[in-house]
């Protein structure tokens, strides 16, 4: 086996040094009663060329933007990724290291994460960001739990317009902690219903969680949500579904959010059938000790030279055990590095330009689709790069007809929103050319809708 260097002679010599006669003797502590008495039933091993063939055969049976025009979004976005990103994260000094427990030989990872924390603070308008969470959904769940710790209250209000899969994860995490998760409705314009929220707010509510942008691609009135939540002593959690939007939208921090939990997949990470992605998590400095996850801090070495270390670890599981703020240990380090490289390359201008193109192309698509007979755009509130389309014909048939023409038209909303059974979610990014949008419009106009 090419990954294992031992020759027969090495093994014999090593066994001799240990003082045993066989490999078998090394396992004496495992009782015979629990031993496996047959070989594992696994497919025969593949040589590298055979493995590559097997993988390519699997790859050939999936739809991608190479063979389909895709308008799928809903929490995972196809954005341009500069070639330098993968080149840099493929430096194996980065990807074959682990958590920077030994700072003197981990300064590369540590400085990069410190830069990631800074970039996330700048994007979100918050004081402090951690080294990453598993994804946007689990970051949102951890934000809910942090709000519970801060307020000592037991109820979490979640906007129905928050990504439904994120809502589900929040519910899973709260499941056995004696917390209620209560939904807040959305209004006719696609934004969280402020009246419904006001009616549900009381002294039991720890957190209000809303998407920014929300699942319908709509920009919430975050300032109003923050005022309402904070007026009742609750924390506002902004769940950023699409990070690129922060290139243009006012930052959640500026609008008064207490915690920002978001998905950073759009920052240079391939959609990769759902992961690995990177959750980002930002808060106010006064609440830092209630935060989950790893934090990197600046310090100096014995000679007074600047360096970086893991810090405020007394919040974490390896020190606090059952009293820790979270059980998270390994997070999404390499994906945080990816985001850092991506955001450095795009920079101040690039992120704004990319966000602007998303906005413009989605607006153009909205306009083109809105003209088609049988197509309706139910939500009028301003949006970013996604929007809801309602069709006269059943969604299933519409999407199937589009698929026949090589188009992945969008994500059906019915399974998550019975009241939107006749609608689907369309995402348009800078990767779509005008012609791609016109292909979708033509297909819908030509009978699909």
């Amino acid at each position: 086996m090419r990954y294992i260097p031992h020759t027969r002679d090495d093994v014999a010599q090593m066994l001799g040094r240990i003082g045993v006669g066989s490999l078998e003797e090394l396992f004496v502590e495992i009782p015979a009663t629990v031993r496996l008495k047959r070989p594992l039933q696994l497919p025969a091993p593949l040589a590298e060329p055979e493995l590559v063939r097997d993988l390519k055969a699997l790859a050939a049976r999936n739809a991608t933007p190479e063979n389909h025009v895709s308008f799928l979004g809903g929490g995972a976005y196809q954005h341009f990724i500069p070639a330098a990103v993968d080149q840099l994260i493929s430096r194996s000094e980065f990807y074959t290291a682990y958590t920077p427990y030994q700072p003197e030989i981990s300064q590369g990872t540590l400085q990069a994460i410190f830069e990631f924390q800074t970039l996330i603070c700048q994007l979100t308008g918050m004081d402090v960001a951690n080294a990453s969470m598993y994804d946007g959904a689990s970051a949102c769940a951890e934000a809910a739990l942090m709000a519970v710790r801060l307020t000592r209250r037991q109820r979490v209000l979640v906007s129905k317009a928050l990504n439904p899969r994120w809502r589900e994860v929040v519910t899973t995490y709260c499941r056995y902690l004696d917390l209620d998760v209560v939904e807040v409705g959305y209004g006719a314009d696609g934004r969280t219903d402020l009246d419904d929220l006001a009616a549900r707010l009381d002294g039991r509510v720890a957190a209000v969680i809303a998407g920014y942008p929300n699942y319908f691609g709509v920009v919430e009135d975050l300032a109003a949500l923050a005022r309402l939540a904070q007026g009742a002593g609750a924390k506002l959690v902004a769940g950023v579904n699409e990070g690129i939007a922060l290139g243009l939208l006012k930052s959640p921090g500026e609008l008064g959010a207490d915690i920002v939990a978001g998905e950073g997949q759009s920052f240079g990470i391939p959609v990769s059938f759902g992961g690995p992605y990177v959750g980002f998590f930002a808060a106010r400095m006064k609440d830092v000790r209630a935060m989950p996850g790893r934090l990197i801090g600046e310090t100096v070495d014995r000679d007074g030279k600047r360096g970086f270390v893991l810090t405020l670890a007394t919040r974490e599981q390896h020190i606090r055990r059952e009293k820790a703020t979270s059980n998270i240990c390994s997070n999404q380090g390499l994906c945080a590095l990816t985001a850092t490289v991506f955001l450095s390359l795009l920079g101040k201008q690039g992120l704004r330009e990319m966000a602007g193109q998303n906005l413009a192309k989605a607006a153009y698509a909205r306009e083109q689709l809105g003209r088609i007979k049988g197509v309706d755009l139910p939500f009028a509130a301003p949006g970013f790069n996604e929007f809801v389309v309602r069709t006269a014909r059943p969604v299933k048939e519409v999407l199937a007809a589009l698929e026949q023409q090589g188009i992945l038209g969008g994500i059906p909303l019915g399974p998550d929103y019975p009241e939107l059974a006749d609608a689907f979610l369309v995402c348009v990014t800078e990767q779509h050319r005008r012609a791609d949008i016109e292909v979708l419009a033509a297909a819908l106009a030509g009978g699909a809708a």
Binding site: M1, Y3, P5, D10, L26, F27, V34, Q41, L42, E48, L51, V52, L55, L58, A84, S92, F94, Y98, P100, Q102, E104, I105, G108, Q111, T118, Y134, A137, S138, N163, R175, D178, L249, K250, V271, F273, P276, V278, V288, L295, G297, D301, Q317, I319, E322, A324, S326, N327, C329, S330, G333, C335, L337, L343, S344, L346, G347, Q357, K361, Y364, I437
Partner: protein, 487 residues
């Protein structure tokens, strides 16, 4: 040969200190639709302090940072409990094939058959390797796998009307175990071990309020829990379940299966046992295997085979999702590639060589360092600093090892050994590497006697020396603050 030496190391500022107004490191096509603006009041100002760099600036920045790191590809990384084995390069290619990396998670099942079939095959392989009835691939890391497993335990109890709230956790356990139990709403009851758990200790604590026992097997001392079958029987007889932290599965591949020992739930760490890279702190992947009785409670959806097609399915009893999508697919692909490359015999060989290596290191260092437990080790071995003279401690040994060119072992864990030095060589290291490492360890023990200053001053060959962690925590500086100024 001493591996560690010093050479030219380049300094590098923070990204933000490099930035120059007007520079950019990207290009986008010209906008081919009419430009639009956000309505008033929604649009932000330009982001103060955000970097402005050319592509060259960025490439040089991160390349320099990478040279300040130490990875498995740099050298020996015997970080106990973390299984820092070599990360095969073809697996990186696997995760980057466009037909896999560019599949959107909301793609209809019938257009993602290749992705689904890979997941199905991996579920099946992990079930066979561990002896469990069902596997979910969803959790993102070991700790999330633990949480998934403990929520499943809780759901199983609730489905039977049982409100048990206690979980027994041995003193050798990793910090994630108690933290996870708390997050799943349980009260932690610590129990003592004597190297391994005794049946008497478990019997003494196993009441009808106990929902589960969380064990790690082999445990964090690298010792097989020899009483595991009897322990599982006692826990089951009194209505509880047994959770196994599978971080140490690299000691058991093809030798014994947790599912056959009576264990009900276990998480895998694909980033340990199955050679996926650790990424500087993730992403990992923490699938969970369960006995058939617990399968309906797993987080959905999982992949099923339906004739010659594959599709996602779920259950109404599921605890619900743990992540927005299907888990860390890119990591699953690497683990799949690894399992297909190794086959059954290869995996067993890996375990045998991992155990051989740990015992070889143990044999070479015994006498030089204090060995607290005489029981035969499996894949890792724990020493302590008890016998070191002249105020030399585990931390000093670790820092001095860096000067010799090694990543230190895990230190001060497990907590049951004072000053523990936990060495896990893994199977991918040669006898030659182990000999050089052991020579360095023994030389350091000698230095502790003859010239302890060398240990106290270490490391001296790195770009930075020991860092002031107390100051970092007392006055936290968690982001670059100098908006607008240049460093």
């Amino acid at each position: 040969m001493i591996v560690g030496t010093s050479g030219l190391v380049l300094n590098e500022k923070l990204l933000f200190e490099h930035s120059d107004a007007g520079r950019k490191g990207y290009s986008l096509p010209a906008l081919d639709v009419p430009a639009t603006e956000l309505p008033d009041g929604l649009c932000r100002q330009e982001i103060a302090g955000f970097p402005e760099l050319s592509e060259v600036d960025v490439v040089r920045h991160f390349t320099r940072l990478s040279t300040w790191n130490y990875g498995v590809d740099s050298g020996f990384y015997p970080l106990g409990s973390c299984t820092m084995k070599y990360n095969p390069k073809v697996n990186e290619l696997a995760a980057r094939l466009p037909g896999l990396a560019d599949v959107h998670p909301a793609t209809p099942d019938h257009l993602a058959q290749g992705a689904l079939e890979m997941m199905f095959r991996l579920q099946e392989a992990l079930a066979e390797i561990s002896g469990f009835g069902a596997v979910t691939l969803q959790p993102a890391a070991g700790a999330q796998g633990e949480l998934t497993g403990m929520l499943v335990v809780r759901a199983w109890h609730e489905a039977r009307g049982s409100k048990r709230r206690k979980v027994l956790i041995p003193d050798t356990a990793h910090g994630t175990n108690p933290a996870t139990a708390a997050l799943a709403g349980f009260d932690v009851v610590p129990i003592a071990s004597e190297g391994v758990l005794t049946l008497a200790e478990v019997e003494a604590h196993m009441t009808d309020e106990v929902a589960a026992l969380m064990v790690t097997n082999p445990n964090t001392l690298g010792l097989f829990e020899t009483n595991i079958a009897a322990i599982c029987e006692v826990v089951h007889a009194r209505g509880g379940l047994v959770y196994c932290d599978g971080a140490n599965l690299n000691a058991l591949l093809g030798i014994a299966r947790p599912g056959d020992m009576g264990i009900d739930v276990m998480h895998f760490n694909l980033h340990k046992t199955f050679a996926t890279p650790h990424g500087g702190g993730g992403p990992g992947s923490g699938p969970v295997g369960v006995s058939a009785a617990l399968a309906p409670f797993l987080p959905g959806p999982w992949v099923i085979q339906d004739g010659d097609r594959y599709r996602f399915a779920g259950s109404s009893e599921s605890i619900g999702r743990m992540l927005a999508f299907h888990g860390n697919f890119g990591i699953m692909l690497r683990a799949y590639a690894y399992i297909r490359s190794m086959g059954a015999a290869g995996l067993k060989h890996a375990t045998e060589m991992a155990v051989l290596n740990a015992n070889y290191v143990r044999a070479r260092l015994e006498g030089g360092y204090h060995l607290p437990y005489a029981t035969r080790s499996l894949h890792e071995v724990v020493f302590s600093d008890r016998d070191l003279p002249n105020d030399c401690h585990t931390l000093d040994v670790a820092k001095r090892l860096i000067d010799y060119g090694y990543h230190p072992p895990t230190i001060y864990f497990p907590l049951v050994v004072k000053g523990s030095i936990m060495i896990e060589p893994t199977e991918t290291e040669s006898q030659e590497t182990l000999d050089e490492f052991c020579d360095a360890m023994l030389a350091i023990a000698k230095e502790a006697e003859m010239n302890p200053d060398l240990l106290h001053a270490a490391p001296v060959r790195t770009r930075v020396r020991r860092l002031d962690e107390t100051a970092a925590a007392r006055q936290p500086r968690l982001r670059w603050e100098g908006v607008g100024e240049k460093g």
